[in-house]
Amino acid sequence: MRIPLIGKVAIIWVSLYLALKFLVSPSLPSSVIFMYMSLITVCILLFVSVFPEDAEAFFGPIKRFIAGDQTDSAVRKLGRVAMFAIIPLFFGHRSYQANMPSYEPPLEQRIVHPAPPTEFTGMYNPYREDHEHFAENVKRGGEVFYRNCVFCHGDKLDGTGIFAEGFNLRPANFQENGVINMLQESYLFWRISKGGIGLPEESTPWNSAMPRWEAILPEEDRWKAILFLYDYTGYKPRTWE
């Protein structure tokens, strides 16, 4: 049996939706699925409306079904009535769901990498160019990390420390591509020094449990810990030169 164009489109659309919904792991947020499905829908509509014969094959049955004529069967007429009843009910239900009070916290739109304050821009790690004592400084940085940071960021620096599961937001994963290799050392120095409490308002809601390490660790230990993070993960800090 030859599947009509409108049927093929429906199959493709549903398949893509199911793939996005169930095949991607971990699950995609509904906002992302909505965004991708909107794009897919628009592009499908564009494609089927390029050629006149395709446009007729796709939109023709829809138009004829909606407009109807004298020769329509009772089933077809009933289907039309049902469609006009279901569409407003569907949107009504969605509106009700959207407006109904929920116990779940509202959607959060966080800025993960907010702009650092002026005093933390353009700083350089004073131990980066000290090649003679580099290994020694990295070792010291490692000690600082394993005494203070390992409990949250994990012994492999992948954000899976023993306390990690207890936090929302989860501790940063330094092994992930696109985290510390996208940032300058001065940025890390700012985040470590000021912690969650020192984040700017633009990045709220902040519930980061990161301590303000400048009250605990001397400046040289913070720089050496940064040196260790890059050395262990193999990433290079972002530079502009």
Binding site: L28, P29, S30, L39, L107, Q109, P114, G122
Partner: protein, 628 residues
């Protein structure tokens, strides 16, 4: 027989009376008819009362405010209800949109006139003239908004204006001089069109002059706004002119200049397309449809021509911003304004989709190509969907608490890789290549090269595209494994150069190959379906919306500074508005601009309408005279 005409008013329009015979002339649109009805039913009283009330309320608060801020030392003044920042925001943006239109259209008109001159195709000359007519109508509007903007700035932000005057005053004088010069040249260019028909080179020179002066005006103003974003140290040891040049030649001046020139070409092209689409949809005759269909095609072509290099110019600007100040760069691309870049990505993506769709429709309807083209179009649709999806995926996703927990944060381990520049630049380059292929397909449709080397050239082009796609993807993937500086300075530049190389190699090769080509099918104008015209209108609006969005982003990047890091904003409006409020303002400005442009289109078309009506009335009267 005499010509005793008298006008007799009625509720529906004007009735022209001649020799006892009424010849109805619908001089007014339905809108005006309804307005007149409303006024007759006492609407004028309501409007007058409302106007007086608003004026009274405004004056009451305005006077009270003026008493407070009337001091000569006032740093800020406000506007009741509206707010000084909102007022400047709306007026400045409208001025810039019109300025973009006024600078983009002459580029477009000059190119069309030159093509008409070189090819002898009168349609191009007609098109250039039609658009220059719109230019004269919008020139005054641009100047009006510019003057209002200046008054608002002087009146409400005297501290800032005083600072800028101290640095840039000679350029203010230069700007005024250039503006007068541009006005003179524009008048000569427009009013001398028919007069210089026999001296086309001279007229083209005037067009070139108009463009050069326009560019000089824009670059002068660019110095002020780019200095606000990226000021340089103006040392007391510097001489006056040295200081001035240092302020003008600030780090973002050149990137803004180039970005705006290309942006204006895009605006001019897509606005031409939108104008043609409106006229096409309202066309009564096949001749009109053919003309406006062709005009829409040219507009879309120019828009796409500018759109292809525009992302590169934008990338250069952002790179300079990052190099100038990392904090500002992060605020823009990774911080509080980053969601606006997602909006921009959506708009640019839709523009690309719209431009491609219009080419495909041209293939299907004008060229009536065979069904085999469907598979190429399907491949391009899939490419565009994939690229667009990556292009608009943010680094941090909007997620509920449970969704965020499932992902381990708002950063998805799989989609996270799409949220960084390596991915974005790769897909935008692929979208550019795809759009170029759409254009080539349209260009080659119904033509068969007669050159002996044509087949070899075609295979060479396939090879170039294949290599370019592989290179762009490989460089993008490699970008994840190198330090940022290598990615930003070397790999991204290499991607851009690869794509540019394809564009500048394939275009002349195709032109040479199709020179004196055998025509295998006709190109029928005036047969495009309405949906293709809606795409042209949508692209016109999207360009305006994108300019409005990025205009706001550029201003907002200064955060609580008038001049970044130098002159702090101490007014009550020194805060970044929410994304929702900013988006509403942008939508309102875009809507207002579209309304004013529609008005200008309507006004510019009035002489033609009057000409047609008088001609038809004269014909009727002539017929009556013959009978008598």
């Amino acid at each position: 027989m005499g010509f005793p005409l008298s006008l007799k008013g009625d509720s529906g329009g004007c009735v022209l009376v001649g020799d006892g015979v009424e010849v109805e002339r619908k001089m007014n649109s339905n809108l005006f008819t309804q307005l007149r009805g409303f006024m007759k039913r006492g609407g004028w009283l309501i409007l007058l009362s409302l106007g007086l009330f608003l004026l009274g309320a405004f004056l009451k608060n305005g006077v009270a405010f003026a008493e407070d801020a009337g001091s000569a030392m006032a740093e800020y003044r406000d506007i009741p209800y509206i707010g000084s920042r909102n007022a400047v925001w709306v007026i400045a943006q409208l001025h810039i949109l019109f300025a973009g239109f006024v600078l983009g259209v002459p580029i477009f008109a000059l190119v069309c006139e030159y093509i008409g001159y070189r090819t002898g195709d009168i349609r191009y000359d007609k098109l250039a003239k039609e658009f220059t007519k719109l230019l004269t109508a919008s020139f005054g509007t641009t100047a009006t908004f510019g003057a209002i903007f200046l008054f608002l700035l002087v009146g409400m932000y005297p501290k800032l204006f005083n600072f800028l005057s101290g640095v840039f005053f000679p350029t203010f004088l230069l700007y005024a001089f250039l503006f007068i010069l541009e006005t003179i040249v524009l008048y000569i260019y427009w009013y001398g069109w028919d007069y210089m028909a026999g001296k086309k080179k001279l007229h083209l020179f005037m067009g070139l002059l108009l463009n050069l002066i326009g560019l000089a005006i824009m670059w002068t103003a660019d110095a002020w706004l780019s200095f606000q974003a990226s000021p340089v140290v103006l040392s007391a040891t510097m001489g006056y002119w040295e200081r001035l040049w240092a302020a003008v030649h600030n780090p973002t001046w050149n990137p803004v200049n180039i970005h705006r020139v290309i942006g204006n070409i895009v605006l001019g092209g897509f606005m031409c397309g939108a104008y043609a689409a409106v006229r096409y949809l309202g066309s009564k005759t096949q001749e009109e449809r053919e003309h406006y269909d062709w005009m829409g095609y040219i507009g879309n072509f120019v828009g796409v021509f500018g759109l292809l290099p525009l992302p590169f110019a934008g990338y250069w600007l952002m790179r300079e911003v990052y190099e100038y100040n990392q904090q500002m760069g992060i605020t823009l691309m990774g911080g509080v304004l980053s969601w606006l870049f997602i909006l921009q990505a959506i708009q640019i993506g839709v523009l690309f989709l719209g431009a491609n769709y219009y080419f495909w429709q041209g293939l299907a309807y004008r060229a009536r190509v065979e069904a085999r083209y469907k598979k190429y179009i399907l491949a391009m649709v899939i490419t565009l969907v994939l690229c667009f999806a990556v292009w608009l995926t943010p680094h941090s996703l909007v997620a509920s608490l449970s969704e965020a927990r499932a992902m381990g944060g708002t950063h998805h381990p799989l989609l996270g890789v799409f949220g960084v520049m390596s991915a974005k630049l790769t897909v935008v380059n692929l979208m550019i290549l795809t759009t170029f292929i759409s254009f080539l397909l349209y260009w080659r449709a119904n033509q068969e090269s007669t050159r002996s080397w044509a087949k070899g050239a075609l295979y060479f082009q396939y090879f170039l595209f294949a290599v370019a796609v592989i290179a762009v993807i490989s460089l993008g993937v490699y970008g994840y494994y190198v330090p940022a500086v290598v990615r930003v300075k070397i790999l991204s530049t290499a991607q851009v150069l690869v794509v540019l190389f394809v564009l500048i190699t394939v275009t002349p090769l195709t032109a040479l190959s199709l020179k004196s080509a055998k025509v295998t099918g006709s190109m029928t104008w005036g047969v495009m379906p309405p949906r293709s015209q809606y795409v042209l209108i949508s692209n016109g609006i999207l360009v305006i919306l994108t300019m409005t969005l990025m205009g706001y982003v550029r201003s907002a990047s200064r955060v609580h500074f008038h001049i970044y890091g130098v002159l702090r904003d101490t007014s009550p409006y020194a805060f970044t508005p929410s994304v929702g409020f900013a988006a509403s303002m942008m939508a309102a400005i875009t809507f207002a601009f579209c309304l004013i442009v529609l008005f200008i289109f309507w006004v510019a078309g009035l002489p033609d309408k009057a000409g047609k009506k008088l001609t038809s009335s004269a014909r009727v009267l002539e017929a009556l005279g013959d009978k008598a």
